[in-house]
Symmetry: C2
Subunit: 175 residues, 2 copies
DNA sequence: AACTGTTATGTTATAATATAACAGTTGGAG
DNA sequence: CTCCAACTGTTATATTATAACATAACAGTT
């Protein structure tokens, strides 16, 4: 059902990432890159401590085992550049898959499967317009929009059995 | 600017609450009622531990000082009945202000002021339709929709000064 | 090279949010 | 009355995130 070439997807995202970082005058350092790669590894949302566990299993050259602040700093950096998004309803993170014409932020609609954790990301177009218009109606100035849909993806609906593989990110994600 | 009669608003919400609880065959016990009243006290989003602090300052008759599970149990109950909502992007909670025709859940759009913490709640109508339609397009079955707008309310835009009163819920909310 | 400002990272500890687990209590249904 | 289910109390712990301070790496300047 999925005509998704993930190798190509990763390559494209990494190119974009370097480009965006340079444009913003920032550096995509090895650690930041590692976090981005972990999130790019598949299209699931991954928790900060799952990322930490992965990094600790494969520490970078000449580096000690990373600690929580290392992960959160990298996440903050990547969030600011719009390279990743946070799933607020699950305290987890996923790599942005939307084409970024300039390096502008966009309003993301995330469809998160409660069973397998996969995230399907769409750009909010008309949907966001309505929110901005509604906010204008009572003088509210929007800085940031969060739109998340929790539910069941097509694959998990087909497989009746609950796989229980959800949130098993620490062991399921390889880098 | 705000033609809001809050006493009336609270009364109405409490009536609805009792009605909805009875219809669902559940009980609005004193503790649950206390949590609801704390959230009804104003239209700000309040954190679980702020609620806890308030409850500990004014414990109910014949009750010891409540502990975290007490608060989270009450919040879970009220969430299930749709009487309150959680602000996922801030780990806080606010009382639902939308008229509830039956006791059906609704999709809430929350406009949260980053400065004063006030929440303006709207019911998502057309906006949610678009999401459900979009989800249908790739076979995703939606259980729950989260729509949050973070920004600045009209009042806080007028007052240039940052009041810094945001999140000062433990001391600011009286019951 | 030595100095300096800036960004990035390391390290330790702790804050903030949320739940597990089990014991006790209560209030109706039968 | 007895039993069951719902509710509550209690202790401990899990999970998520940040504060605070020290050090390193780097770039430009003299
Ligand atoms: Zn995106
Ligand atoms: Zn799935
Ligand atoms: Zn509501
Ligand atoms: Zn405000």
């Amino acid at each position: 059902m999925d005509s998704h070439n993930h190798n190509q997807c990763i390559t494209k995202c990494l190119q974009d990432a370097h480009h965006i970082a340079v444009q913003a005058g920032k550096k995509l350092t090895p650690q930041r890159l590692q976090v981005l790669q972990i999130l790019l590894n598949d299209h699931r949302a991954v928790g900060a401590y799952d990322i930490l566990a992965i990094m600790q299993r494969k520490p970078l050259e000449d580096r000690t085992k990373p600690q929580p602040p290392t992960v959160y700093r990298a996440l903050e950096f990547l969030l600011e550049l719009g390279l990743i998004h946070k799933v607020e309803s699950q305290n987890s993170y996923y790599a942005c898959t939307i084409d970024k014409p300039e390096n502008r932020q966009h309003v993301a609609q995330a469809f998160i499967c409660n069973l397998c954790g996969i995230v399907e990301e769409k750009a909010a177009l008309a949907g966001a317009q309505g929110l901005y218009k509604k906010a204008d109606g009572f003088g509210f100035k929007i800085d940031r929009v969060i739109m998340e849909c929790r539910g069941t993806c097509a694959v998990c609906q087909t497989e009746q059995r609950q796989t229980g593989q959800r949130a098993n990110t620490a062991t399921g994600v390889n880098i």
